[in-house]
Symmetry: C2
Subunit: 194 residues, 2 copies
């Protein structure tokens, strides 16, 4: 048992590093960039509160697990902005998943690796709902700051719609709500020119 527990604690130490991976989006209430641990916590809370809007019946425990682990690969790869993702980024994340989940005893490591792959490929109702909230959170943050980071990063209205319309795969209701909100920001001049 001692070896097993030390392996598990080694993983628990290692993942502390996601608290130092900063995203390109900022908190709702301050100017500070958000880190991956905070983001993961927040989308878990969103899943608990908004689960009624999922398109399909979902296993909420599975959604939470996916969300808790989905950014661990960024310990090795760093954060990549959703608007500029390359094939090389995807490959690097696979390698990171092998290393990080490989720190755990076999069955837990495999479960996390499978959940991460399922999330990345959006191959289940849970993955699609988790993916929807993973995109919704930065949208809400950015809208709460009147689109400041869209302008800073030169992201136009069409691009925002194009990248975020996949929210509808997880929740048509949430996408219907949020695209109206995004349109308000267009009318308000909050976007970079496309």
């Amino acid at each position: 048992m001692k070896d097993r527990l030390e392996k598990q604690l080694g993983f628990i130490y290692e993942i502390d590093r996601v608290k130092g991976i900063f995203r390109k989006t900022r908190l709702f209430h301050t100017d500070r960039f958000e880190n991956d641990a905070e983001h993961s916590w927040h989308i878990c809370m969103m899943a608990l509160v908004l689960q009624e809007y999922a398109n399909d019946k979902i296993d909420i425990l599975k959604v939470l697990k996916m969300m808790l682990i989905h950014d661990l690969v960024e310990i090795d790869t760093g954060d990549t902005i959703v608007y500029n993702r390359t094939d090389a980024d995807v490959e690097a994340e696979k390698k990171a998943a092998d290393r990080i989940f490989g720190m755990l005893p076999g069955e837990t490591g495999r479960e996390f690796h499978d959940l991460w792959t399922e999330f990345e490929t959006r191959e289940s109702a849970e993955a699609r709902f988790a993916g929807a909230l993973d995109r919704l959170e930065p949208l809400l943050q950015n809208m709460s700051r009147n689109g400041e980071d869209w302008r800073r990063n030169g992201i136009g209205y069409e691009k925002v719609l194009d990248v975020n319309k996949r929210i509808a795969d997880g929740s048509l209701l949430l996408w219907d709500f949020v695209r109206v909100e995004i349109k308000k920001h267009l009318d308000n001049g909050d976007f970079a020119k496309s």
Copy 2:
């Protein structure tokens, strides 16, 4: 539906504030203090990885929910160090729970309030396991830094044992492991004088 969703989103905005509530303990890998959102995420990960060591059969979903919400009251009260908790602190947290969970639609708000009360009173196997990990994380952090914050806050060996022995209520196995580790730090001179 729009009113309901706006209420839910209002809560999701509000709870962003826990990212600005800093604890008295520091991260494993840096000198920075940890905030409540990061801490909540980390103990959720610990629950997923260490659930096999719970004394009793536990509903892991319930454990995760408790952990995700357990520090929201600190939005109003701020962080209080576990070694110096007063009755007035407890009263203030109750008031905060009424306000914060009251922002949600009735049934979700009631569920969260009940989970929070259950966690605080340690009245179920889930609450005892969640409580054990809530104490274990800062212990591990502090030990990874050779007890620097015990010395800084004048916390002696006996006090650390006394406050943390309740880890055993949730997991005898984890307590058995960790008290041996704590003793090593005593032998190493890492404590303040009692």
